[in-house]
Structure formats: structure tokens, C-alpha cells
């Protein structure tokens, strides 16, 4: 079962994970990752924009690819858009599987693709205004591991 969502408002990762676990009693393990707005000096807010016709279909395609590569019972991908404050959750990925390796790998794979191969644009507000954030070299190296 796939649970793929773009969220305009804040969410509780704990609550989402509780429901996801309950929906997958057959799973032997669940691996999850929560991405948060980092508390960097000078960063007052973070904004994520998306493009409706591409972003959600792209997340579905990514989930299907993960499902095809690993033996999963379920995969959850929730991603925020809009303006967020430091410490707010941005993304939640959770993979449920019979065995742990599939769950760990699927969550890792999904996160690497959300970072630098999904239709999101990120900018942060500092004292002198908004700055667009380019993906880091490391993000591209992380992505290349799966090719």
C-alpha cells in the first residue's frame, strides 16, 4: 500500500508513523526517516515550492520504483510545501517490509531521490532576504549510488 502526500500544512511524524504501523500488521519491520528544517544560524524560514502537474506524479513514480526494487508491504512518502520554521518536519518516509534490509534500503533510496531528483525548489530566508538552495554535490553522489 502506498501513501503519497503533498502537505500544505504542518504534520506530526509520530502520529503518521503510528497509523502507518497499524495499517501494516504483517510487516516484520518499519524503517523511517524524518527530515526537518535545520537550525542554522541566521535562517529564519524555509520555503518549498512545487509544480503540481509534475511533483505528485513524480513521487508516485518514485514509490513504484522502490516497490519494484524491494519487497515492501507499504511505503509512505509525505512531503511539505510552503513556508516552514526551523525544526519543523519537511519530509517523512517510511517503508514497511517483511525483513529489515528491504525497509532500510527502500527508505534510503526514496530519500536520496527526494533530495535531488524530485520536483521541489527550496529557498531560505536570512536577514538579507530569500536565497535559493542548490542541491549539494553530496546529494548527487548519494543519488548515483542507486544507478
Amino acid at each position: 500500500m502506498l501513501d503519497i502526500q503533498l502537505l500544505e500544512k504542518g504534520f506530526s511524524p509520530g502520529k503518521a508513523l503510528g497509523l502507518f504501523a497499524k495499517a501494516h500488521p504483517e510487516a516484520g519491520g518499519i524503517a523511517s526517516f524524518v527530515g526537518k528544517v535545520r537550525m542554522d544560524e541566521g535562517v529564519k524560514a524555509l520555503e518549498l515550492t512545487h509544480y503540481e502537474p509534475l511533483t505528485l506524479p513524480g513521487m508516485h513514480a518514485l514509490a513504484e520504483e522502490a516497490q519494484a526494487r524491494w519487497n515492501l508491504d507499504g511505503l509512505l512518502i509525505w512531503h511539505r510545501v510552503g513556508v516552514m520554521r526551523p525544526q519543523a518536519p519537511i519530509v517523512l518516509v517510511s517503508a514497511a517490509a517483511r525483513h529489515r534490509r528491504d525497509a532500510f534500503q527502500a527508505a534510503d533510496f526514496t530519500m536520496d531521490h527526494l533530495k535531488s531528483d524530485a520536483w521541489f525548489w527550496k529557498r531560505e530566508r536570512r536577514a538579507d532576504g530569500w536565497h535559493w538552495i542548490e542541491p549539494r554535490e553530496q546529494d548527487h553522489d548519494d543519488l548515483a549510488r542507486w544507478r
Binding site: G35, L48, T49, Y51, P53, L54, P57, H79, I90, V91, M111, L114, K115, S116, D117, A118, W119, F120, W121, K122, R123, W132, I133, E134, P135, D139
Partner: protein, 80 residues
């Protein structure tokens, strides 16, 4: 007869707006010419991709948009 251009990410800053209309029919050469200056230059960058009506073009230089089409200009992404 118009095509709607959607500017994403920093391209919206360079354009000074999130979207605008442009005369149709529209090909890549005309688009770059119309959006002169820094914006036009940014579009030529290797990493900028183009989607027409939600479908990504394999090569943006084959752009051929007609009346009513939505052309999205997509700079490098950063999510998560």
C-alpha cells in the same frame, strides 16, 4: 492565441513573476529571444528543463507549443 509560461524556483525571481502569457505558436528560439537578458541566459543553461502540459521534454530545443499550452521552465531541484 497564447501560451502560458510558468517560472519555477529562481527563474521566477529572474522573471519578476511566477507566470506570464506569450504569443503562440512558440518554439525554443523564440522563447529565449523574447525572454532576453539574465532570464534568457539562465534558460539556455544545461540544467534547466522544460515541461509542456505536465510532460517533460527530453530536449527543450524541440519545444513546439501552441495556443492554450502550459510551458513550465524548471531549474535544478532541491527537495527533502
Amino acid at each position: 492565441m497564447a501560451v502560458t509560461l510558468i517560472f519555477l524556483g529562481r527563474l521566477a525571481d529572474l522573471a519578476g513573476m511566477p507566470e506570464r502569457e506569450i504569443d503562440s505558436p512558440l518554439d525554443w528560439g523564440t522563447l529565449v529571444e523574447e525572454l532576453e537578458g539574465e532570464l534568457g541566459e539562465a534558460l539556455e543553461g544545461e540544467k534547466v528543463k522544460v515541461a509542456v502540459n505536465g510532460k517533460l521534454l527530453a530536449d527543450k530545443r524541440i519545444l513546439a507549443a501552441s495556443d492554450g499550452d502550459e510551458v513550465a521552465l524548471l531549474p535544478p531541484v532541491s527537495g527533502g
